[in-house]
């Protein structure tokens, strides 16, 4: 017993000495601070294609901002950013466990959302419960921002505005079109998109001949495709990359004769071209394309402040680092970090309350487009300023993705899906 006591005392002494000796040296001239940005990414699982693009964008931003010397706060501290992230395996319960861990154990200062509205919804609750700001990318569902949160900010154009432009485009392409079939994934994002799409289409005089949803992870779309009437004019819907690609493939295999096929998330991704003939003529709704015309000059003309990298530089540096074309998911990831950088810089501090104030007042033009958040209590954090563009795969020898709508951003005119 006595020996045990002596051992314990000895250990305590060593422990104290250790603690004393490990005290950091007195601070040098300019203090640096590392701000931890926490997030989960679906590196595996069904959302991995889009999610990897998103974290590539975010990591590119972080690399560039740190290389440029970080952000200087009002008290002279220089802030550099570090990422702390985990693989959420595209699973909701992992997201909630991991964000709690990021906040409590890893002491993340700011959070970025996972990819997809479903996972972001789960993360947002945790962020708000622990009073941390979260910038969301890849999370378009409007419903997330109508739940009374005050610290969640959306970079993407909301779901409700995703496919309404496709209806306008259809009117231009084929004025005699009357019938639209809608088949979508039954998750929050796609459901929000098609609910708004249906009411918009009906308001414009179209007849929605099919309005059904498939379970997340569905692989057999034949039951739905069989229900599409032979004389349909347009097929719209989809969900995320994996299921939408399969849906597009099966639409082609079953020889659907619609004049327009407009789908979510998958068509703007470069990987969609792997479908070959099945991809030809498919229209996609995109948050951003490399052909976008946002620039400091355009910002000046619109009387809005410009911040950050230009479209050309983003395209170039992304391609160099990742050896692939950036998609709108990449741009979303990048801009999420960019917005945080701007907010911290303007606030001159990393305090949540101060950064929040800047975000609430934000009215910014970036390479990604115009950014402005809704600050009404009912829809706090919803993206107001940003717009969608529509792309279509057209064959110019080999498949090329063109911007076909709105006309101001067009690089080519839209073509019919059928006849080809």
């Amino acid at each position: 017993m006595k020996r045990l006591g002596l051992c314990l005392i000895g250990l305590a002494v060593v422990g104290v000495l250790f603690a004393v000796l490990m005290q950091p040296a007195a601070a040098a001239e300019a203090k640096t601070k590392t701000v931890v940005i926490g997030f989960t990414a679906s590196q595996t699982g069904k959302l991995n294609v889009e999610a990897i693009r998103q974290i590539n964008g975010l990591n590119l931003w972080m690399e560039q901002v740190n290389a440029a010397g970080g952000v200087k706060l009002s008290d002279g501290t220089v802030v550099k950013f570090a990422a702390k992230f985990y693989d959420d395996e595209s699973k909701k319960e992992r997201v909630q466990e991991l964000y709690t861990k990021l906040i409590s154990t890893d002491k993340a200062d700011f959070l970025i959302s996972p990819y997809s509205s479903g996972l972001t919804d789960a993360a947002a609750v945790i962020a708000q419960q622990y009073n941390k700001i979260m910038i969301t990318a890849g999370a378009a569902s409007d419903s997330t921002y109508k739940k009374g949160y005050t610290l969640i900010y959306q970079a993407y154009t909301p779901a409700s505005r995703y496919l309404t432009g496709a209806v306008d485009l259809l009117a231009k392409m084929e004025p005699k079109a009357k019938k639209i079939a809608i088949v979508n994934e039954k998750d929050k994002f796609s459901t929000d998109v098609v609910n708004e799409l249906k009411s918009y289409a009906e308001k414009k005089g179209y007849q929605v001949v099919l309005f059904e949803g498939y379970d997340t992870g569905a692989t057999d779309f034949a039951p739905f495709i069989n229900k599409i009437p032979a004389d349909v004019d347009a097929v719209m819907g989809g969900g995320h990359f994996a299921d939408t690609s399969t849906f597009a493939k099966q639409l082609f295999e079953k020889g659907v004769k619609a004049k327009m096929v407009a789908l979510l998330v998958a068509p703007p991704e470069p990987k969609f071209a792997e479908l070959g003939d099945a991809a030809y003529g498919v229209i996609g709704a995109s948050q951003w394309q490399p052909e976008a015309k946002y620039s400091p000059e355009a910002a000046k003309k619109a009387g809005v402040e410009w911040f950050g990298i230009t479209v050309e530089d983003f395209d170039k540096t992304y391609k160099t680092k990742f050896k692939e074309e950036p998609s709108y998911h990449s741009a979303g990831g990048y801009v999420a970090g960019l917005l945080l950088e701007n907010a911290i810089k303007k606030a001159g501090s990393t305090e949540t309350a101060q950064v929040k104030k800047v975000l609430d007042d934000m009215n910014l033009m970036t390479f990604y487009g115009h950014v402005k958040f809704d600050t009404t209590p009912k829809a706090h954090g919803l993206q107001l300023g940003h717009d969608m563009v529509y792309t279509q795969w057209q064959k110019k020898g080999k498949l090329v993705n063109q911007v076909v709508w709105p006309e101001a951003a067009q690089t080519a005119k839209a073509i019919l899906y059928f006849p080809r």
Binding site: A222, A230, G255
Partner: protein
């Protein structure tokens, strides 16, 4: 409307043949040794991956690759039987259920580690066949042909070979078969192997037209349960008929109600059949 009905029914029946092959594997194992193989799903998924890997890494035609996948399924069955089932074959049902379930977890765990859960695809487009107003993807037609061939082969084996007869004898009455000199352990292992072989082949066929992950076997395992109960546990022919029934239902139901109600009907039917006619259509063992 009629066109749509015929189109849906055709799609459903084509798929039903493949479901039937998967279910035959499950029902064979049950019939011979009264074990419900809860590793059925992951074996189907391994069949999917087998065909995929042979195609992408060795350039083997997916349909020809099925032969290799079948052999792999057979050997896998021997391994699972020896490792997990043999010791608990005479124990209460709970033990064999949990033992095969443990194998399920092990395969999924290893599979997730090796392949991750990102979806994969076999890129082997074969186009579609137009028959009047029907448009049938060739891959699905070939899968049905494959399923029919496999069923025929199974029947020839069970009824015209010595080993097949031994299996049927053990299924009928294990004690009596042993008394007649049939090595029951070997026969049991072989039956289990046949069961997993059928599952793997079904998986390979499905992989030719649907994307898949290591977790894709789950839904087909559930469908196999429904089919086996419909057709009668222990009857391979019942499984095939059950598969066609289920495929047909899956094709017909969406014509009359939203597609998302199909699982409710499927599982509702499953529970009802279990309650009121557990021996299924052809009677169980």
């Amino acid at each position: 409307m009629l066109n749509q009905l015929i189109s849906s029914l055709t799609d459903g029946l084509l798929l039903g043949f493949v479901y039937g092959v998967a279910a035959m594997g499950l029902t064979l194992i049950w019939g011979v040794m009264t074990v419900i193989n809860l590793a059925h799903g992951p074996v189907i998924a391994l069949g999917m991956f087998g065909t995929y890997l042979l195609f992408t890494h060795l350039g083997v035609n997916p349909y020809l690759g099925l032969v290799a996948v079948a052999v792999f399924g057979l050997l896998l069955g021997f391994v699972i039987y020896g490792a997990a089932v043999h010791r608990v074959i005479n124990a209460p049902h709970l033990s064999s259920l949990l033992a095969t379930f443990a194998v399920n977890m092990i395969i999924i765990g290893l599979g997730t580690a090796i392949f991750s859960t990102s979806p994969q695809n076999i890129d082997f487009p074969l186009g579609s066949l137009e028959a009047g107003f029907l448009t049938l993807p060739v891959s699905r037609l070939l899968a049905t042909v494959g399923a029919i061939l496999v069923t025929a082969a199974l029947y020839l084996f069970l009824y015209f070979t010595r080993m097949g007869k031994a299996i049927r004898a053990v299924a009928n009455n294990r004690r009596a078969a042993e008394l007649m000199g049939i090595p029951s352990s070997l026969v049991l292992a072989l039956s289990f192997g046949l069961g997993t072989m059928l599952a793997a082949v079904a998986g390979g066929l499905i992989a030719t037209f649907f994307p898949f992950t290591i977790l894709s076997g789950g839904p087909y395992e559930l469908k196999s349960f429904v089919i086996c109960v419909l057709g009668g546990l222990g009857h391979p022919l019942g499984a095939l008929l059950g598969g066609l029934m289920l495929g047909g239902l899956e094709g017909l139901i969406p014509t009359f109600m939203p597609v998302s109600w199909v699982p409710v009907v499927e599982f509702g039917l499953f529970v009802l059949v279990l309650l009121f006619r557990p021996s299924g259509l052809l009677g169980a063992k």
